[in-house]
């Protein structure tokens, strides 16, 4: 049973996130990050890309010319370009406002083909909004680093401006090729889960010079497969919960790439020890590529935001009862 079915059966609600075509040319709106700010507004960072993902499922009888999993960008523009919108939802999860993040003050000419800040998680720390994602367009080899982009949100006119941008180094020796999907801990400013096994907690700072240090590194329970960053860590009960993803990448007999994504719920104690994990992986809507990039507590329920095949975006209101079931299941996990 997928998670949407499970949530809806217990009174949950699924909300598609759509921005009018005139702004987005119909291409993918994906990987939304839901967040509830100090005013109680439900905000979402919604990623818009210039491509359409084609992922043939089932018997894979109708792949694109380039294989079962391909990013179909414009033919005269080989880049995969991301821009971000900040949206506001009402309590029924209907989008009431949206604005493209104005990055013009800080933009520099991209020098790699993945352009823009990708898969941003939205947070508010020390009263300031941050979109935190990976950028890979600043070096000629596509090196990825997390960036802390401070946003100013004008709620009167609903306009969003990026006012500062900091490229976060990896903890020493900072030699890795690509850092991405660091998971922000909602109530611990500038703290992230970098890896889940062993659990590596890092923190950065909002001021210059850009720096990052390892806070802890310890082996807790061992997941059945490498878990990668998904939603925020959301305070829940005496600790935290989050959603992670795992990827199975492979190639078909024509050496064309393919992949499967699954999710699990992770349970953390107050000291950020991983103490539970869904014993069974799950999907949101049974697609083979889905991606969760946000979660927020709304009343007693959990909002979970996810992308569907890079082409569609949703927020799922998941009733507390379902969340507690998931937690109970996770706590039965024995590695």
């Amino acid at each position: 049973m997928n998670l949407v079915q499970r949530a809806v059966a217990k009174g949950g609600k699924l909300a598609p996130l759509v921005i009018e075509n005139g702004l987005t040319s119909g291409t993918g709106l994906m990987n939304p990050s839901v967040f509830i700010d100090d005013d109680g507004d439900i905000l979402v960072n919604l990623r818009h890309v210039n491509y359409t993902l084609v992922h043939a499922e089932g018997g894979q009888r109708f792949p694109s010319r380039f294989g079962p999993l391909s990013y179909l960008h414009p033919e005269k523009d080989q880049r995969l370009v991301t821009v971000n919108y900040i949206c506001r939802l009402n309590k029924d999860l209907e989008m009431t406002d949206y604005a493209k993040v104005d990055t013009s003050k800080l933009d520099v000419t991209p020098i790699w083909e993945f352009v823009g800040e990708e898969d941003c998680r939205l947070v508010q720390w020390d009263g300031k909004y941050y979109a935190i994602g990976v950028r890979r367009d600043t070096t000629s080899n596509g090196q990825g680093r997390m960036e802390l982009s401070q946003l100013e949100i004008n709620k009167e006119n609903w306009a969003v401006t990026e006012v500062s941008r900091m490229r976060i180094p990896a903890p020493d020796p900072n030699t890795s090729y690509c850092e991405k999907n660091w998971v922000p801990v909602l109530d611990k400013p500038y703290h992230f889960i970098k890896w889940a096994s062993p659990v590596e907690v890092v923190r950065t700072y909002p001021d210059l010079p850009a720096r990052c240090e390892q806070v802890s590194f310890r082996q807790n329970i061992k997941p059945p497969q490498d878990q990668r960053g998904g939603s925020h860590l959301v305070p829940w009960g005496d600790g935290y919960i989050s959603l992670s993803h795992e990827v199975i990448l492979f190639k078909n007999y024509l050496n064309q790439k393919d992949g499967l994504y699954y999710h699990r719920l992770l349970v953390w104690d107050k000291d950020l020890n991983l103490i539970g994990i869904s014993p069974n992986k799950f999907t949101f809507l049974d697609a083979r590529i889905e991606f969760c990039t946000g979660a927020a507590k709304l009343g007693e329920d959990l909002l979970i935001s996810f992308g569907f095949q890079d082409n569609a975006a949703f927020v799922l209101r998941t009733p507390k009862e379902v969340v507690e079931e998931l937690i109970s299941e996770a706590m039965t996990y024995v590695n």
């Binding site: 699924l14 759509v18 009018e20 993918g28 084609v54 089932g58 009888r61 109708f62 010319r65 569609a312």
Partner: protein, 187 residues
């Protein structure tokens, strides 16, 4: 039905080609063509063995979605070709392929696709579950008429265009196009 209602109701059966097709149509209606592509492709893949018309229509719809996104011609043509391969005895795919070649000024390809489609346009056809721009046999005759002039068959072009105006009930844009083209070629 709204998208959220469609998907919530489909969530128990996400491999159902009919439900995926409905969701795709709704996304296409609001011009979210990437989302529509996802669900049309799912409709095609999961309907392969059971729903031939949904498969065929979904593939043609995918090509129209890519056309709408602009500058994705490889994918426009690819999914028309896949539709034709799936149901080679229906005319709609040949029409879209002919139209594709018309836009690219590939005139012999345009003519050949139109003529091939005409070979299948006179039969009794089960209606498709969605519009794919095929308004009837006359659209193939139109493509044939236009392309015939460009491949050196001027007289054939004149006859076809005049016949279209005198014998076919057509949409206004086709009537206007016939008149305009006849003026252009001096007929």
């Amino acid at each position: 039905m709204l998208i959220n209602e469609l998907i919530e109701s489909a969530s128990h059966d996400m491999s159902n080609p009919e439900l995926n097709f409905q969701i795709a149509k709704e996304y296409e209606r609001i011009n979210q063509t990437a989302s529509a592509v996802s669900f049309y492709l799912r409709a095609a893949e999961y309907g392969y063995a059971t729903h031939p018309l949904i498969v065929y229509t979904s593939l043609l719809k995918m090509s129209l979605c890519f056309e709408d996104q602009k500058d994705r011609n490889w994918n426009v043509s690819n999914y028309i070709l896949q539709a034709i391969a799936h149901m080679p005895t229906r005319p709609e795919g040949y029409f879209l392929m002919s139209r594709f070649h018309e836009k690219a000024s590939n005139w012999q390809e345009c003519y050949t696709m139109a003529q091939t489609g005409l070979a299948f346009s006179n039969q009794r056809l089960e209606p498709l579950p969605a519009d794919v721009l095929y308004a009837g046999e006359y659209v193939l005759l139109f493509e044939k008429a236009i392309s015939s002039w460009w491949i050196g068959r001027r007289d054939e072009a004149k006859v076809l265009l005049n016949n279209l105006l005198s014998t076919q009930t057509m949409k206004p844009e086709y009537i206007n196009a016939c008149i305009s083209n006849l003026k252009t070629i001096g007929a």
